[in-house]
């Protein structure tokens, strides 16, 4: 029996389009509001301050150890809201499908997205599906946009960071990027990297009482820790000093990074949180994070320095190395 595949007509606005949406998408996301397929979903937020974000996902391969493009798209948007101090509430999912995509594969992706949304306690309330011909996409691209309600008390921004502040990370770095790269390069080793794709909003929620002492949060996705930290200090009169010995890296991830000659600090994570806080808050934040599974590997990895605009790594051997922004395209289509 031949496999059911996506056809151009699934995106044409006619009968097949409607069946795809009615049979594969609406039931998975329990979109009560979408029964009549309106063009927009109605929301009744409780908070007065909302957050709004969007991300497109083009990861390749579509499925990788630890996740697939479906849960990645949900987590990515949840995390963009969370690092700005928001509780994720509503999500949109918009699909660009390539003609020929096996329906079974689309189902696995949608199942993962639905499970991730449920786990994060958010509703997928609106969406869109387009189909392009063979050779005009690479299987499947997903856009997710998200709306969150601000947790009270956070006042975040690079401008609030000052020398002496602590730099924390919620878990090992680079697992997502190296899990994806290992598949692409055909590297199979025991205990190899598994993507950390996952939500960070509970890590933010858990430290709500300490919110006034938190200066800055960001998830180290494309460009990894190097991009996040350089962006934080660029054109400012502070720097970052990282202590290599304190940076958590999973053994399998380290092994693959070494095989591929990649710097873990430049590789994307998709379920980690960088946080800068007043030094007196670091211990309490760490204690709260360690109680959550997604914060079990949290560590204090450095501090804010007075070295304007520079991110420095104090190596295990005691040397000092500049951590630069990735220059070129080290890792295309990592998310």
């Amino acid at each position: 029996m031949s496999e059911t595949i996506i056809q151009l007509a699934h995106g044409g606005g006619g009968r097949l389009s409607r069946r795809l949406i009615a049979e594969e998408i609406v039931p998975r996301f329990g979109m009560e509001s979408l029964r009549d397929l309106p063009d927009a979903a109605e929301l009744k937020p409780e908070a007065k301050r909302l957050l709004f974000t969007t991300d497109s996902f083009v990861v390749q391969p579509l499925e990788f150890p630890g996740g697939n493009i479906g849960d990645l798209a949900v987590h990515g948007t949840v995390n963009d809201l969370a690092v700005c101090g928001g509780r994720p509430r509503w999500l949109s999912l918009s699909l660009i499908l390539e003609e020929g995509l096996p329906l079974s594969r689309l189902r696995r992706v949608l199942d993962s997205a639905a499970a991730a949304a449920a786990q994060c306690g958010l509703q997928v309330v609106t969406g869109d599906t387009k189909v392009v011909a063979r050779g005009q996409a690479d299987g499947l691209y997903i856009n997710s946009a998200g709306i969150g309600e601000m947790f009270p008390g956070f006042d975040l921004g690079p401008g609030r960071v000052r020398p002496g502040d602590s730099v924390l990370v919620s878990g090992p770095l680079g697992d997502h990027g190296l899990a994806v790269m290992a598949v692409r390069e055909g590297i199979r080793i025991e205990g190899g990297p598994v993507s950390d794709t996952g939500p960070v909003h509970r890590l933010v929620q858990a430290i709500g009482e300490l919110a006034p002492l938190v200066r800055f949060m960001r998830d180290p996705t494309r460009g990894g820790a190097a991009a996040v930290l350089n962006e934080l200090v660029e054109q400012r009169d502070v720097g970052v000093e990282l202590t290599e010995a304190d940076i958590p890296v999973s053994p399998g991830t380290r092994a693959v990074a070494e095989m591929l000659g990649l710097d873990v600090l430049q590789v994307a994570s998709e379920g980690r949180l960088f946080l800068v806080c007043a030094p007196e808050a670091a211990e309490q934040i760490m204690a709260r994070w360690h109680k959550l599974p997604e914060g079990g590997g949290a560590a204090c990895v450095g501090r804010i320095s007075g070295e304007a605009g520079r991110v420095i790594l104090v190596t295990v051997s005691g040397g000092r190395r500049l951590v630069d922004v990735p220059q070129g395209e080290l890792l295309p289509r990592i998310c």
Copy 2:
């Protein structure tokens, strides 16, 4: 001098990514909130009821008579909010760029998107940019998600429609779809079709006082009028009776439709509004629409019938023809 093109590194999260965003995107949209490139934008809505929608745009060619994928992406999302009774306020734009895309082309698209957003009085507050390799996209895809605030007084839905209601349309049908098809097929005729891509929110705003008498609104995009009206009556005990003689169609659009053997009723418009209202409101709505440039061609094209689930066209010669949903993929990548 060789032309500047998009490179994979523009999507890598490193220096080139940041330059592209800082130099080409942020200034065009005047995103004050984006100076620090946070992951999410903060919104302070005034209304308690919000609307949320998303659409991905894959139109081919990227530029066509009357517009390009940039203003189309803004108008599409504005219109999805407007037909649900919402005033568009905030927009996200997410780009998937193909390596090799000329920067000049991207600039034209972004200029159009920015102009459309300004014209609609909405702010582009957040975005994302990904780059895929040559052959993995077709130049450029855009996703836009939008948030609107409900105009007061509207209570819309297919379930509110009843026999005897009037069916109005805000202007000629099929201009967008046939403008795109004409380019693709290399048809050049004098006075040929020009896309109607444009916003419909002012048409909705203009009839605010009559809101309680409005039952249903929808923009006839993919699948055209045929898809919208069949969706409206499917599995309901009402039908639609259209009067062919009253349906506005531009001469150039009609000519190209005949050359290509396409039914204008199945072709997308991107700046038109179908509206069903109590019969006593039709004349007043038409009068208000006629005062606006985008409603100058508005017409009452039919009425709601008791013929359950059927959309019937009363032809110029007095015959009755069933208007069916497009079955296959007549017009791929029309929006």
